[in-house]
Amino acid sequence: MLHDVARDADICHILGYRRPVAFDDLLAGDGRVEPRDEMPEGYRRTLVRQIAQHAHSEIIGMQPEGNWISRAPSLRRKAILMAKVQDEAGHGLYLYAAAETLGVDRADLLDQLHTGRQKYSSIFNYPTLTWADVGAIGWLVDGAAIVNQVPLCRCSYGPYARAMVRICKEESFHQRQGFEILHTLSHGSPAQQRMAQDAVDRYWWPALMMFGPPDDDSPNSAQSMAWGIKRFSNDDLRQRFVDMTVPQAQALGLTLPDPQIAWNEDRGHYDFGPIDFTELAEVIKGNGPCNQQRLAHKVQAHEDGAWVREAASAYAAKHARPTEGAA
């Protein structure tokens, strides 16, 4: 309560008043950097690259699950899936909006995606072959994404952090619906159980790769940590995901395709087998099962829509209200 607080200096604090501070002081005090603040060019560039890549992942990520909207096996599942894929478009848009506060245009970022100069998460270069894959993506891929994203809600760049808060809030249903799909399948007919196990077998390792290369092979991580963009190392996050997921797999009655998974009493964590990072490198290089297909789909949609975007601009120019902008 206000009257219990000492005067003067504290009042300044209550009102959110701060002396102007330099970038480094801001970071040291765990403050937030806002769009018009001065910031090192490297910080800005790193953020643009990371946020854009994140946005692209949401947008390309619409495809593997969108692939099953027309075939969802019940109307309830169809509605959930449409809403989920829609959320991914929304999340992409929140992130592009955050990137645009750094002085880049979304059109340029999309152009870099379309021409392969900016990447998206490799996980979306795997195909969704069965309905159970929709469950595996929700449970494992969204599960891994949430582990990655929760710390980003405290990212040093304000607009990115705020977008992540919104996204994390909305995504809480994504992982749950995936788990629910797999739970239904793993408690269903033998064919459904096989379908669920097969999906988990195919998505487990790619999901672990979503956390990126191991820490000693992740050259930019240290700088990102120093800048408060990244809060935990790749391996720490990966471990957190494994620890979270192993008991969930048991609840599903499904096996994770790694015989080396075992509880390690000393570490207080689950041990797991070595990850084949040459596979990750291959997919990043463009040799995943769906790289060309995903990009071609996105480019096609963009090109097919050009006449529509041009028409809307032309209409706006013709019908611009004279008062618009002056009111």
Binding site: L2, R7, P20, R106, A312, A316
Partner: protein, 93 residues
């Protein structure tokens, strides 16, 4: 071709509260901006009213002028009720 113009979106989450900035979007004109804002930012009943403003129309203070803008308010502590001493036992003041 360039993208459609950028618009800033403000949502009133319920009656009695102010509109709050929630993000931005692209739209060819004001009418479409409002509709896109509805579809993008109120999917989960986040709002009862929307504003969209062309981003280029927002005039913002310069962080470099923060001292001149905001520091002079810092020592005017007499603007706050806690500045004043009130004798024990006096209420409703």
């Amino acid at each position: 071709m360039r993208d459609w113009p950028l618009w800033e979106v403000f949502v009133r989450s319920r009656r009695g509260l102010s509109h709050v900035h929630v993000g931005s979007l692209h739209a060819p004109d004001a009418e479409m901006a409002l509709r896109n804002a509805r579809d993008l930012y109120t999917r989960r009943q986040e709002g009862v009213s929307l504003w969209v403003v062309p981003s280029t129309e927002i005039v913002a203070s310069d962080p470099g002028e923060r001292e001149a803008f905001f520091e002079p308010a810092g020592d005017k502590v007499y603007r706050h009720p806690t500045f004043y001493d009130v004798p024990e036992g006096v209420e409703h003041l």
